[in-house]
Amino acid sequence: MAYFWTDKIADVTYTNPEFDTVKILWKDDMNIYREHYLKVDEEDEQFMALLGETSYEDIELRTKAANDIVRQEFRDAFNRYAERTGLYTGSDPVENDTELFRFFCNFDPESAEDKERLFALKLSIFEKDEVKDSDTSERSKTAKTAIRKANSPVEILALYQVFKNELPAEIQKDDEGNITGVFVPFP
């Protein structure tokens, strides 16, 4: 029994900020790299077989690495443009960070740029030691899944508190087990 990619995987990454599709890069018998896509669906045999060869954590790490390369290329290109056109003038943090503040305070779920930044934030959170090295309890798994599916930066930051050791946050659920919020105590 096999899939096209069985024992031939070169890379696996998410292909969108929603984390609902993965791209498997595999090498065929002619040494040609092929792309193979799968919906993230834990009821699908093929996706579960993929998780037998890799893991959510590994896919997140690989996605982050791929995005870092693209982001660095963009950063370099922007820096060259900014230096060329004299954009680097001010040092006022309020002015410089306006866009960042807006992202957290007025996240726009329809904006491609915001969705991409949200995706990057998720990857960044999964890179944190306390998340990466967290225990395998149901609580940690639930929080990780919720971060994966979070629809705003505030949700992500609230869920991140679950992994903090001092005054840990509490996940709150409804009768059907759906997460309704996170109680975050002040230190």
Binding site: M1, K39, D44, Q46
Partner: protein, 320 residues
């Protein structure tokens, strides 16, 4: 459901088949099915019946503004990149061949023998179906593909794949994911052609078509005199193998007990091969300018951004 363990003659004794030997038979039955599938999916030019229509979307540049006399047209006045949509509707099916009839259990000796704990007896029709036909059909709808899924369909990103036959016969993709080719848009070229796509991935419908491999051990049939006879191992058209082929084809297309094969896109069942994705750049426009003469200032917004998956279409196989 009663799955029996068939018996065979090992040269000395009559013994029960092991799991590997039974698997060989199921793979052979799948092979027989694959030589002439009764549930088919085909590639058509348009108006395929396997819903939904799959949309490939891509960005195209906004229309250029040219001939401004004194200054470049402002970014706010240039047309934004827009989305081009190409719909793919090239798969028809599943189509069922319902011209076949099930094999009857004549004289209660039509089907292979097994040991019932005290005697060697022929399987009933129900036992035979559970042991060979339904078990093979269940294996055929697995997401994981092998000789046991012969005759069923999958999606590949290569036109030619070992152990598969490309269904259109002419390497016709059933879906093509395209994106704007940003390398083709240059300021010097303003006004650029607005739609300049490049193909990212083509997807092909394939049918599993492994070469034949005969089982290593012959099944035994009881005849009307009570004798045991070995079925022919080396001919697809021997009387019992012809029965197997007829029945796997019949029940695949007409079973009423939930074993009939079916295909869909994004419905129930196991994914087959690669999902088909529509990707698109997510930028809001790359504003570029060009001054051609003293009184010809130009501007245009080109596609830009990172590729994102917009839609994912999954081809699935199931039993109904």
């Amino acid at each position: 459901m009663t799955v029996r363990t068939p018996i065979y003659y090992d040269g000395t004794d009559i013994v029960e088949m092991n799991a590997t030997q039974i698997t060989e038979w199921k793979q052979y039955i799948a092979y027989l099915y694959g030589t002439d599938p009764s549930v088919t999916v085909t590639v058509v030019a348009s108006s395929g019946t396997l819903s939904p229509t799959m949309a490939d979307t891509r960005l195209q540049a906004g229309a250029a503004i040219t001939g401004e006399a004194s200054a470049f047209p402002a970014e706010a006045t240039t047309a934004e990149p827009s989305t081009v949509t190409v719909n793919y509707d090239k798969v028809t099916g599943p189509t069922y061949n319902t011209a076949l009839s099930a094999t009857a259990d004549t004289n209660n000796v039509a089907f292979p023998a097994y040991y019932d704990g005290s005697d060697i007896v022929a399987m009933s029709l129900a036992d035979y179906l559970d042991t060979f036909i339904y078990a093979t059909l269940t294996g055929m709808v697995s997401a994981s593909e092998s000789a046991a899924t012969n005759g069923t369909y999958t999606i590949s990103t290569a036109a030619s794949v070992a152990n598969y036959t490309e269904v259109s016969g002419s390497s016709t993709p059933i879906f093509i994911d395209t994106r704007a080719d940003t390398t083709l848009y240059t300021a010097a070229g303003i006004p650029e052609t607005v739609d300049q796509p490049t193909t990212i991935t083509s997807y092909y419908l394939q049918r599993r078509s492994d070469a034949r491999s005969f089982p290593s051990q012959a099944l035994l049939l009881v005849d009307t005199s009570g004798n045991l006879n070995q079925v022919d191992l080396t001919s697809d058209t021997s009387s019992f193998n012809a029965i197997l082929k007829n029945d796997i084809r019949h029940y695949a297309a007409e079973d009423t007990a939930g074993n009939k094969l079916s295909y869909n896109i994004d419905g129930a069942g196991n994914s087959r091969g690669s999902a088909m994705v529509d990707t698109r750049l997510d930028g809001s426009g790359n504003y570029q300018t060009l001054q051609v003469g003293l009184d010809d200032y130009r501007a245009q917004e080109f596609p830009d951004g990172s590729p994102q998956t917009i839609s994912t279409y999954t081809f699935k196989i199931t039993q109904v």
